[in-house]
Amino acid sequence: MAYDLSHLRQLEAESIHIFREVAAEFERPCLLFSGGKDSIVMLRLAEKAFWPARLPFPVMHVDTGHNFPEVMEFRDRRLDEAGVRLVVASVQKAIDDGRVVEETGPRASRNRLQTRTLLDGIEEHRFDALFGGARRDEEKARAKERVFSFRDEFGQWDPKNQRPELWSLYNGRTRQGEHIRVFPISNWTELDIWQYIRAEDIEIPSVYFSHRREVFERDGMLLSVSPFVTLMNGETPFVETVRYRTVGDMSCTGAVESAAGTIEAIIAEVSASRITERGATRADDRVSEAAMEDRKKEGYF
């Protein structure tokens, strides 16, 4: 049929529409970029929305300091290629400045410290809209979040008091100090992201593909041996063939055993998987039934 758009082209068009709407209506938008696959797809969609002009906003990385070196190398190269300005909100700097206190012990994570660092970054640069790569299929609190998600002057989300969102008419009105989190890929699933990466031939960091890595097992997850984690009694490192389904903080992102070395193999693996990506690989979401909702209320991504 002549006038059909595939699901990927429809999702793409919806996302581009959202990027343009924000650029037109806000004064100081910013794109959150972690170097993970979702933010990489977001960057490509933003490039498409404004081509042949460059992105009319900067990119912000909330940097825990516990990064995969491969991802940092990729981040700098990719942003340079896109010709966009990078703003780094550093958790290390927040710790050094005494704005947040580092957790201690072998299970210490900088995950929660990201929220304060993010909110400080927003305030410092007076951003009024932040593009995030959250998807509704990821997590059940996210399944109920709007595309334009209002944040009060404390950066908080109130799930029971969300603005109705109809058709493709988005209400982005805010007062001084408030902001909107914007999720252009709300309606994409993990599989859509991989299919799009394949269709568009988008480069992603090497940690997404199968490789040999020194890991250890904790709480049923394979964590990478790195300077950022301390082994506890009984934890023994071993070398395994793994890849990452999500890319976050090295101290709490688990690897999965996998021989998938190509996008095709990853798509086959994701299609057959019986476990969600966050369930498989994110210690930060395992804390409780409402872990994500609680962090989001505080101002998390």
């Binding site: 049929m1 006038y3 059909d4 758009l5 595939s6 699901h7 429809q10 999702l11 793409e12 068009a13 919806e14 581009i16 529409h17 343009r20 709407e21 037109a24 490039e47 498409k48 929305a49 404004f50 081509w51 042949p52 002009a53 460059r54 509704r136 299929d137 997590e139 059940k140 609190a141 996210r142 399944a143 109920k144 799930p159 029971k160 969300q162 603005r163 109705p164 969102e165 109809l166 058709w167 493709s168 008419l169 209400n171 009105r173 805010t174 007062r175 709300s186 309606n187 699933t189 599989l191 859509d192 998987s273 019986r274 476990i275 969600t276 369930g279 039934e289 409402a290 909702e293 609680d294």
Partner: protein, 418 residues
């Protein structure tokens, strides 16, 4: 692969959650860790069975109170289509959520308990589906197992609903006898209903023809953003970015720009991936014109002999969504319509509609939360619109309260007000 968005409405009693759980489970969309989490939560709440509603009730308050507060979006796909479900609670106090979920849906599933027949709630759901002009309506007559899969009962419910649906504007109505609990006619045709020769629900969702639901007749292009790279390579580049809201546009087409009325010709239609020969809804493209004309966000490109109505006086069905203050004559609000934003004054509330009986109350002075009525408004600048029934994109608007910045109303345009 095509994409289909559908809305479901109903309460736990109708078996809506069970039906969605069944669709997700049988299409292998529920993941093991999600199922484990639901099982853990069910045990913790003292439930004897795995409560599939917990899959969609995502917020802490919902799980604690066992209710659904808000629209939840769920995703699944089959080799034929990707599906987006807008799962909305069915009670009358959640009308605004149903309207929200229905606004983007291609199809709505209304559930009816075969034992109870067509209740007030089912009529309300069907009415809202028709008001929001969801092109396809499926009436799933559920709990057929509890009426011994009786064909006679199914026919009775069908007739009862058809009599009511005559009053509505429903283009495509399909009846399917199901048992969500046992899976009859949900994914596979059931051997328990040999008298039923229609498709299973999933088969219908996969096959229903949606390509012709879009408006491919009236070219409408609301300008969203003006692209001016101001780089050495694209020094004089000026492109109008936006999402096609109707019709088909091609390079060489004569166009008129509203509100200025200036004419030009489409030089090219461009995207990051290269120029295209034609653009149609919902493509997001950049249009370049042969002539230098002053065009900005909120303007609209259309054809010289096919223009939208341009008027400051608008007649619309409005669903009021604010519990804070009601809509009344004289209310001052902000309207957002396509890419235009303007101040509006409510001139008149012609009537309030009882959404259960469809009767009109012409003496009503206000519209409160979850109420629907026919409203005329005057905007500070002209809007370029079509009837909602002709184009859901150029026929829809939202109303915003300027003091709270809340979205307080949703409007479906009927036409120009006299």
């Amino acid at each position: 692969m095509e994409m289909l968005r559908f809305a479901t409405a109903g309460s736990v009693d109708d078996g809506k959650s069970t039906l969605i759980g069944r669709l997700l489970y049988d299409t292998k969309t529920i993941f093991q860790d999600q199922l484990d989490a639901v099982e853990r939560a069910s045990v913790q709440m003292g439930s004897d069975y795995t409560n599939l509603a917990l899959l969609t009730d995502g917020l802490r308050a919902e799980r604690e109170q066992g209710i659904t507060i808000d629209v939840a979006y769920r995703y699944f796909s089959t080799p034929k289509r990707k599906f987006i479900i807008a799962d909305t609670p069915g009670h009358i106090q959640y009308t605004r959520n149903m309207v929200t979920g229905a606004s983007t849906a291609d199809l709505a599933i209304v559930l009816i308990d075969a034992r109870k027949g067509v209740l007030e709630q089912s009529r309300r759901h069907a009415f809202l589906a028709s008001l929001l002009r969801i092109p396809h309506l499926v009436l799933a007559v559920n709990k057929m197992d509890l009426v011994d899969y009786d064909e006679g009962r199914f026919e009775e419910v069908k007739e009862e609903f058809r009599a009511f649906a005559m009053k509505l504007d429903v283009a495509d109505l399909t009846f399917i006898p199901v048992s969500a609990l046992h899976g009859d006619n949900v994914v596979e045709r059931s051997i328990n209903t040999p008298w039923y020769d229609g498709p299973s629900l999933l088969h219908h969702l996969e096959e229903v023809h949606i390509a012709s639901d879009r408006n491919l007749i009236d070219p409408r292009f609301p300008v969203q953003y003006v692209i001016r790279p101001q780089s050495d390579q694209f020094h004089d580049y000026r492109g109008y970015a936006g999402t096609v809201a109707g019709g088909v546009m091609r390079p060489g087409d004569e166009v008129v720009v509203l509100p200025s009325g200036f004419g030009s010709t489409i030089k090219s239609i461009e995207t990051f991936d290269g120029p295209v020969d034609e653009a149609f809804a919902p493509m997001a493209v950049t249009v370049r014109l042969r002539d230098e004309i002053d065009i900005s966000r909120g303007d609209m490109l259309c054809r010289p002999h096919n223009r939208p109505t341009s008027s400051q006086d608008i007649d619309a069905m409005v669903c009021w969504m604010s519990g804070r203050s009601p809509l009344s004559t004289g209310s001052r609000l902000v309207v957002k319509h396509t890419t235009r934003t303007a101040k509006v004054i409510i001139k008149q509330l012609a009537y309030r509609l009882d959404i259960n009986t469809l009767s009109r109350d012409e003496d009503a002075g206000t519209l409160k939360l979850n109420e629907i009525g026919r409203v005329t408004m005057r905007s500070q600048v002209p809007l370029f619109f079509d009837e909602y029934r002709r184009n859901r994109s150029t026929g829809s608007l939202i109303l915003i309260d300027e003091t709270t910045n809340d979205t307080v109303g949703a409007g479906m345009i009927l036409g120009e007000a006299n």
